[in-house]
Amino acid sequence: MAYDKFTVLKSTAVPLPIENVDTDQIIPARFLKATERKGFGDNLFRDWRYNNDDTPKQDFVLNNPIYSGKILVAGKNFGSGSSREHAAWAIYDYGFRCVVSSFFADIFKNNSINIGILPVTVSAGFLDKIFKAIEADPKAELEVNLPEQTITILPTGEQESFDINGYKKHNLTNGFDDIDYLQAMKQEIGAFASNRLY
C-alpha cells in the first residue's frame, strides 16, 4: 500500500512515558476483525483512551488537547508482543508518521518501516530530554531529518543522530516498498527455490 514519502518532519509531539507498551494496548485483539485496512486509528490505544461506555478517559494523553502532532514519543520497549501490523496501521491512520523511543520491539519496528512510519531509536538520556522539553512546553517542536539521520529538540537545539540501514532509508525517502524490490528479482528467487531440498 502506498505511503507518503518521508524526508524531514517538523512537528510537535505526543508524550507517552510508559515502558513496555505492547501491541495489545496499541490495538486490542477485538478490533482486528476487519478484512480491509481502514479505520484503525479510531481504536488506537482503545482501552487506555476510552471508558467501557465509550466516553473518553480524560487523563489519557490523546484526549488532552494540549498535546498534538505527528510524532509519538514513548518509553522503552515500545511495540512488544503480538506481530499484528494493525498496531502500526492504527498509529499511521491516527496521523503519526514517526515514533521515538529508546528501544523498539523488532517486529513492530519492521512493520512500521514497511508502512511508512519512521521508528527513531534515541539514547535513554535523549529520550528524557525530549520528555522534559514537552513537559516544559507542549508546543515544543521536534525535527526528524531522515536524510541527515538526526533528531533535534528545536527549542533547545539539542540533537542526536539515529541509525537506519541505507536500503530502508532509500525506500522511506522515495515511498518504495519491499514488494517492488522482490518482484524485480523473481527469476533469481525461482532459481533459488528449485535448488531447495523442500
Binding site: 520497549n77 508482543g81 523498539f104 508502512i115
Partner: protein, 468 residues
C-alpha cells in the same frame, strides 16, 4: 582447509539467503508459510491491488484459529465480523490454490499445533506466519518467526522477505528439573531473568541437558515463548527425539527422501567452538513452579515467592505501579492463596496432549472448585481426540470440567471466550498484557500443573502439594 565453527542458527540462516543487500537486509527465502484469518486478508487485498499472484501456493498452509468459537462449531459463526474473516480466508485459499483447514475440518486447530502434528514443520526450514508465536516451530531446529501483514504479502508474492540477520544468543540450562517443574516453568523462569525485552534483536538457541531431555511438546512450549523476551525466535538442535516425532507424520518425508533429509538434519547443530553474541547459563535446580504477577511475561516469580518491590525490578517506578495497580496486587505480597475466578488451559503454548495429561494428573480424583470457571481448550482436533482416547476426558468430566473445541480461545479473547473485567485467571497461555484475555481481565501465566492446582483449590496453590 580449515573450517569455521558455525552455529545452528547460522547454518540454517545462511542456507536461505537469496541475495545480500549492501547496507540493507538479506533477501530471505521462506520454506513454509502459515496463514490464518486475522493477519492475511489485507495481504490478499494488497496482491489484488497490484495484480500479483501467489508464487508458490504449495508452500503456504491456511488454518482458521484466532477468532473461531470453541463451542458449537457445527453452527454458523454468530459474530458477523469473525464469520467474514473466516469466509475471506476460505475464498482466498480457494482462489490461489492454497491448502485450507477451516472450521469443521478434522485437521483444523491452532496453526502452531497443526503444523508440527502434521509433519509440515521440519528441521532446517525457514517458517513464517503473521503471528509472533511462530517461534514455536524452532523446537524442530527451524528458523521460525512472526511477521507483519506487509511481509505476509511479500511471502505470498515472492516466497521471500527482507530481513536483517539478528544477533545470536545461547541460553543453556543444565541439570535435572525438580518435581512439578514443567517446560513452561523453565521458559517463564528464563524470561523473568532476562525481562520482556532482554532478547530483543537476538535469535536464541536453547541448549543443555534440560532441553536435550525434553519432549517435542515441551520444546515447543519453550520456543513458543521466545518472543516474550523480545527474541525473534528460539531454536533447539534436532536430535533423535525430533526425528522420532516427525517420522510417519502425514506430510513428513518418506522413503529415500526421508533418508536424504535425515542425513541433512544430523548436520544441524552448533559446532564446538562456535561463538554467540550473548550467552546465559542457568541451573535447573534453581527453577520452581512459576507464576506471573504483573502485566508482561517477564514479571514472573517462583510460586512460593513474594511480589517484588519497585526497587527490585528493572522497569521505572511509574510503569511498575501501573502494572500492579491493574492487577490489584501490592508489593511484597505472597502469590500463594490468592483467590482466582477462571482457569484457562490451552493455546499454542500449552494446548498439546502432554499439557492435558499434566492437568489431568492433578485433577484426577479431585473436584473443580466451586468459585472457578474453567475453559479447557485443545490445540487441535487431533489433540481433542487424544484427550478422549487416553481417558483424560473421563477424568475431567468426573471432576466437573467440560472440554471445549479447538482454537486460540481465551489466549487473546478474539472470540467469545473473554475473562470478565477485574476477574483473575490462571492461564497456560503466553501473555498477561492488560486486557489480553478480555477488557480489564487479570492474567496469571503458569504451567498446566499450576493451572490444575488452582482449578481444584480455587486459589493460587503450589502444585507440588497435590502431587503424590
Amino acid at each position: 582447509m580449515s573450517t569455521t565453527a558455525t552455529t545452528l542458527f547460522d547454518k540454517v540462516w545462511d542456507a536461505h539467503v537469496v541475495r545480500k543487500i549492501q547496507d540493507g537486509p538479506d533477501v530471505f527465502f521462506i520454506d513454509r508459510h502459515f496463514i490464518h484469518e486475522v493477519t492475511s486478508p489485507v495481504a490478499f487485498l494488497g496482491l489484488e491491488g497490484r495484480g500479483l499472484s501467489v508464487m508458490f501456493p504449495d508452500k503456504t498452509f491456511a488454518t482458521a484459529d484466532h477468532n473461531t468459537p470453541t463451542i458449537n462449531q457445527h453452527l454458523p459463526v454468530k459474530d458477523p465480523l469473525s464469520a467474514n474473516q473466516l469466509k475471506a480466508l476460505e475464498q482466498n485459499a480457494a482462489k490461489y490454490g492454497i491448502s485450507h483447514w477451516g472450521l469443521g475440518n478434522p485437521k483444523n486447530g491452532i496453526v502452531h499445533v497443526v503444523g508440527p502434528e502434521n509433519g509440515i514443520t521440519l528441521p532446517g526450514m525457514t517458517i513464517v506466519c503473521g503471528d509472533s508465536h511462530t517461534s514455536t516451530h524452532g523446537a524442530f531446529g527451524a528458523i521460525a518467526f512472526g511477521i507483519g501483514t506487509s511481509e505476509v504479502e511479500m511471502v505470498l508474492s515472492s516466497q521471500c522477505i527482507m530481513q536483517p540477520k539478528p544477533q545470536k544468543m545461547r541460553i543453556v540450562v543444565n541439570g535435572t528439573l525438580n518435581k512439578g517443574v514443567l517446560p513452561k516453568d523453565v521458559v517463564l523462569y528464563i524470561i523473568s531473568k532476562l525481562t520482556a525485552a532482554g532478547a530483543t534483536g537476538y535469535f536464541v538457541e536453547y541448549a543443555g541437558d534440560v532441553f536435550e531431555n525434553m519432549s517435542m511438546e515441551g520444546r515447543m512450549t519453550v520456543c513458543n515463548m521466545s518472543i516474550e523476551m523480545g527474541a525473534r525466535g528460539g531454536m533447539i538442535a534436532p536430535d533423535e527425539t525430533t526425528f522420532n516425532y516427525i517420522k510417519g507424520k502425514d506430510k513428513a518425508p518418506k522413503g529415500d527422501m526421508w533418508d536424504k533429509c535425515l542425513a541433512y538434519w544430523k548436520t544441524l547443530k552448533t559446532d564446538e567452538g562456535a561463538t554467540f553474541d550473548k550467552e546465559y547459563m542457568y541451573d535447573a535446580a534453581d527453577i520452581e513452579p512459576m507464576i506471573t504477577y504483573g502485566t508482561n511475561p517477564g514479571m514472573g516469580i517462583g510460586i512460593t515467592q513474594a511480589i517484588p518491590t519497585a526497587d527490585q525490578v528493572d522497569s521505572g517506578k511509574a510503569t511498575y505501579e501501573k502494572a500492579l495497580g491493574y492487577m490489584g496486587f501490592h508489593e511484597a505480597e505472597p502469590m500463594l492463596g490468592k483467590k482466582i475466578d477462571y482457569v484457562f488451559i490451552g493455546s499454542c503454548t500449552n494446548g498439546r496432549i502432554e499439557d492435558f495429561r499434566a492437568f489431568a494428573s492433578i485433577v484426577k480424583g479431585r473436584k473443580k472448585a466451586d468459585n472457578v470457571t474453567a475453559w479447557i481448550v485443545p490445540g487441535s482436533h487431533v489433540v481433542e481426540q487424544q484427550i478422549k482416547d487416553e481417558g483424560i476426558l473421563d477424568i475431567l468430566t468426573e471432576a466437573g470440567f467440560e472440554l471445549r473445541q479447538p482454537g486460540c480461545s481465551a489466549c487473546l479473547a478474539m472470540n467469545d471466550d473473554k475473562i470478565p473485567a477485574g476477574k483473575y485467571a490462571v492461564s497456560t497461555s503466553n501473555r498477561n498484557f492488560e486486557g489480553r484475555q478480555g477488557p480489564g481481565a487479570r492474567t496469571l501465566l503458569a504451567s498446566p500443573l499450576v493451572a490444575a492446582a488452582a482449578a481444584v483449590t480455587g486459589v493460587v496453590t503450589d502444585p507440588r502439594e497435590l502431587i503424590s
